[in-house]
């Protein structure tokens, strides 16, 4: 029956990676767990607090608000970037030098470091020297992101769309390129409309890359830190303070290591849950595909 030799020696090859991950992730994470159940004032002055920090963090209205803003931000980003990315990918030239040129132009925002993106937009939106801020003021709009929460939100979303839609567009572009020409020929024979081609050929073939795009964009936006920190500093008030910034203020600004450790663990668990759901979905889709191919 099964005459394959079982050999587990390949696991030894994973060891170096395991050691690396232990040093960079597992041991620090264990330390965070230890911090989350204590009030540590120094290595020899620490008090066991049990689950107190967790219940404080879970009932903190400021964190509830930050969590709400974070979810809202991620959903808005996805609702704009995914359709926009698909649209851009459909409009991009398919071959020749134009294709390469457009690809490079579109990818440029992805190459800029996060905090530089924040600085660029900070200057871009200033009323006195920034092109966008100055123009909006000149045409009579009361635009000021340090005073109006809605202006701050509008700018952060615009910035993120500018920075990250290219990623979605590139993923979709590669997905579109992998559709065999035969599908389009069949569609032409059937005199399918452009919409029908999109709905019944392109969109179904894009499902896999779209799941990856949604996962990446969700993770990025859920952990966003540098760009809003540089652009608005979380203000006006706390209207653009997202989760990671609340965490940094707590951990580094106020040195509340216990509560911020508890908060980090909750944050980590939420991200772990979402990633697992996405990962399982992707794996499941591939499995379905394989079983279809085999049948």
């Amino acid at each position: 029956m099964n005459n394959k030799v079982q050999n587990n020696r390949a696991w030894l090859l994973v060891l170096p990676m395991l050691v690396l991950v232990a040093f960079s992730a597992i041991i620090p994470l264990m330390t965070v767990v230890n911090y989350s159940v204590q009030d540590v004032l120094g290595p020899h002055a620490r008090f066991f607090t049990g689950t107190e920090w967790f219940s404080t963090m879970l009932n903190d209205p400021a964190l509830h608000a930050a969590f709400g803003r974070q979810v809202a931000f991620s959903l808005i980003i996805l609702a704009i970037q995914v359709p926009l990315g698909i649209g851009i990918a459909l409009l991009m030239p398919k071959k020749g030098w134009q294709a390469s040129a457009v690809l490079i132009l579109i990818t440029l925002p992805l190459l800029i470091p996060w905090n530089v993106v924040g600085s660029i937009w900070q200057i871009f939106t200033r009323n006195d020297i920034g092109l966008m801020g100055w123009s909006l003021s000149e045409i009579g709009l009361d635009y000021n992101l340090t005073r109006n929460a809605s202006d701050a939100w509008f700018t952060i979303i615009l910035m993120d769309v500018w920075h990250w839609t290219p990623l979605v567009a590139m993923l979709c572009y590669s997905g579109l390129r992998s559709i065999p020409e035969a599908y389009y020929q069949a569609a032409r024979i059937d005199r399918a409309s452009k919409w029908a081609v999109f709905r019944y050929i392109q969109l179904p073939k894009l499902t896999n890359v779209l799941v990856i795009a949604v996962l990446l964009r969700f993770m990025h936006s859920f952990m966003i830190y540098a760009e809003p920190f540089v652009l608005t500093g979380g203000g006006p008030g706390s209207s653009t303070t997202f989760l990671s910034q609340s965490l940094t203020t707590m951990a580094i600004g106020q040195q509340d290591l216990g509560p911020s450790a508890a908060f980090s663990i909750i944050y980590f668990l939420v991200i772990l849950l979402v990633s697992w759901v996405f990962y399982t979905t992707i794996m499941h889709m591939q499995k379905d595909k394989n079983s279809q191919g085999g049948a």
Binding site: M30, T31, Y35, V37, P43, T51, L58
Partner: protein, 90 residues
């Protein structure tokens, strides 16, 4: 190890996770897992079910700590019960 500020409860917590992983390894060597579909919407292996039950145990504990006044043992008991149900019928 001082810098890791260990406490007895967290040490017990991590030791039991390590013991679970070791136990799962031995179990897998003795009788390899068969992927099957239970009441969960996806087909799972033994390890998948353990992961799902550990992750839900974390959220059960957070829910009980944050939003009720029940003692922590209630959360742990619920988690163990959920783990057994998942491992058997999940």
């Amino acid at each position: 190890m001082t810098w890791m500020v260990w406490t007895l409860p967290t040490a017990i917590f991590f030791s039991s996770i390590a013991a679970m992983l070791a136990g799962m390894t031995i179990w897998e060597l003795r009788s390899p897992t068969v992927e099957r579909k239970g009441f969960l919407p996806i087909s799972t292996t033994r390890g998948d079910r353990l992961f799902v039950s550990l992750l839900s145990a974390a959220f059960i504990h957070l829910g009980i700590i944050g939003f009720t006044t029940f003692p922590l043992l209630v959360a742990s008991a619920l988690s163990v019960l959920w783990l057994l149900i998942l491992m058997r019928w999940g």
